[in-house]
Amino acid sequence: MDDNRVQGITRAEAIKRGLYTLGALGLGGPLLAACGGDDEGGGAAAKTIAAPKTVDGKLDFGGVEIRALGDEFLGPIWEWYTDDLEKEANIQIAKPVKFAFGTESQAVTPKLIGNTDAPWNVISYAAWFLGDFVATGNLEPLDPYLKGFEGYSDYNAGVTPVFRELYCKSKGQTYALMADGDTHGFHYRVSYMENPTLQRSYRRQYNRDLGPPRTWDEYIELAAFLTKELKGDGVYGTQWATEPAVSWSWWLDTAGSLGVRYFDESMKPTINSDAGVKGLEIMLRLSESSPPGVENFSNNDTISNWQEGKIATQAWWQDLTEFAGKDSADTRLPGSMGSDGKIKITSAMAFSRLLSVPKNQPDEAKQAAVWAAYRISHPDYSLYSVADPYNGLEPYHTAHWTPEAVEQYTKPNPKRGTAKDYPENKGIFTSVERAQNHVDAIRTSTETGYPQPNWPGAGEYLRVLGTEIQAAASGQKTAKGALDDAADEWAAIVEKRGKEQQQQFYSAFLASAKRLGL
């Protein structure tokens, strides 16, 4: 036995951890405790995991209790499936822990880098954190478990390739399963689009029919028209959430369609290219047709404004129409007209929730946690989750496009009853036709998806970009000025985090995207 090893770690590591613990005691916060070392993370060697135990031909995890962590938009899905998971595999689900939207950094990261026993068995988080979380070395690689699960190959083949290859994998290993396949779509109030007076007036002014715009230029005109016509009733043409946590996602819609890229080959940021600036200018033009105070709108503000009927149209995640009820419909986003006369559309695949399993937990809990995450992600369950208005989960699997899946949008969720947090249980749409339109819109958006960064450091890049976009929205900077500043900050981040390593990450990201035809 190597006598330099103490309980599975080297003596040097033990001494280092001791020193960091002392540091943590001194500064009193979780920060230093969290900074437990320089683990390279990722790339864990594949190991052999025994297939789940079966008793009388049935899976049995021995009643192990699983605690899940996720943000508010995950909704109560763990509660809904508690009974099923117990019946199916003898897994108990403890009351899940929730964190506020967009606060993964504070809620999850310290525990992962702290290298301590994980307080949760399954975590759900925005997909751009995958790179950072894998780099902590404390996410369990899932392939060795998943390969032993019945039906996994079929499930895996059905996951939308961008999500499966780009969002769930790091260095070729699967570290996460999909819970939510987010994309942006275009939402509108049916009653305004079908209003004869508005239709006549719009045709007179713009010489085209009132309806969802094909291009961003048309959208700017439509939003201005609707604001002018409806402002007297307190209704505005459009809006977007300018808070830094998400403002960049609208920029991916506009600048993405104009062909913006994050970096060039030499890792020089290109977000301030002509395409990037024009993309932001489109958003600023849309701000002019938004309610006062748009420069401070949070994501939740945009939901409540829509639900209160204050907004006639907007680009948003596909859930919006599900949250809003009968007068809301959705379709593909507008795009940018290319020199060849074709319209290029990109839909931000922004956010998208993943399910992962922290490494530091007992093996039996880990195995049950991977199973539970797999089942939650599997269409056996997710078919119902994505068609339920009491969460923010969207389709990511071929099974979610089937007639059965479409029909589910018109029916109650059979996996749950009602409770204080989800007082109703009925279909979102009253007709299969409307449900089909909605699912088609999501599918089109997914096919034109524009992926967000998800390599280590993505959180910082996106925060900086989102902050500068908000600075432009509030009039502190021009679109060019804001993106120039963001590009300068991105260049500094590249240098600080190590140019060579960042270049490797970005090249791998680009290579995956290219393989997927993006």
Partner: protein, 315 residues
Amino acid sequence: MSERSAGAEQVAAVLAPPPVAPPPPGRTRSALLPRLLIAPAVLVVAGMAIYPSIWSLWTSLHAWFPASGIPRRWVGLDNYIDVLSSARFWNAMKNLVYYVVVGVGVEMVLGIALALALVEFVRRAWVRVALLTLFIMPMMLAPAVVGDIWRFMFQRAGVLNYLLETVGLSAQNWTSAELGIWSVIVSDIWQWTGLTMLIVFAGRAAMPESLFEAARLDGASWWFRTTRITLPMLRELIIIALLLRAMDSYKLIDSLFIITNRGAPGTSNEVTGLMAYTTAFVDFDIGTAATITWLLGLIALVLMRLFWIAFRSNR
């Protein structure tokens, strides 16, 4: 011997350490014992303050991203140069100066005025107690709760805009890049004016009324009594209140975080504490965060020194 030197000798005698009794026969005094007795305290200070400070200083000289698995890298003073040359840092510092100087300044003036008014113009004891309680109640609320209360009041459809529109004025964006920090200052004044008021009220109430009675008999006006008797006698207490509030304001994060949604729009309403927090706990750029906190610490040391010099020269 002169009278003066005799006096000095007396003082020296008083200040001299008491004679030490010789150790009992058979026992010699160990030099180790006193050291052992203070060792726990020294260890606690070393472990809880000195070591972390040195560790933090060392960290500020590195690029370190523990959440990205990147090994720590020596960068010397690069982090200091980056922070000091960043417009974001100086904007955050400007906001902090506004917050501390204007916010605490108004709290001091208001607190002193209200405390003196309470003592001198409110005759019934129960009314005094009721008013005092009313003013100090906001202090009992958690800053996060205060932040939420004011966030609702400052929002577009909040009560402040409702009142403005009721009297025919246009609604304001209270958390805009221009107004955000001032809105936070207003909430801070609402919450903390009571502290100065409480301290000054206690000091004023403890003063002998005979002093003021004598001044009144000598024909001293209210203004004369206030500026020549009351305020000079309350000087130390006012300085304590000022120090308490200034130190507390210096580490502002919570209410500003909530009212302006993390210093938004952009980073226009950020203060240095929030910038350090975001850098450390959102970006996990620990080296830069340590640099910001060291700069803040150094600035605080300089300010304390200047304050102390000014205080001593005015004694």
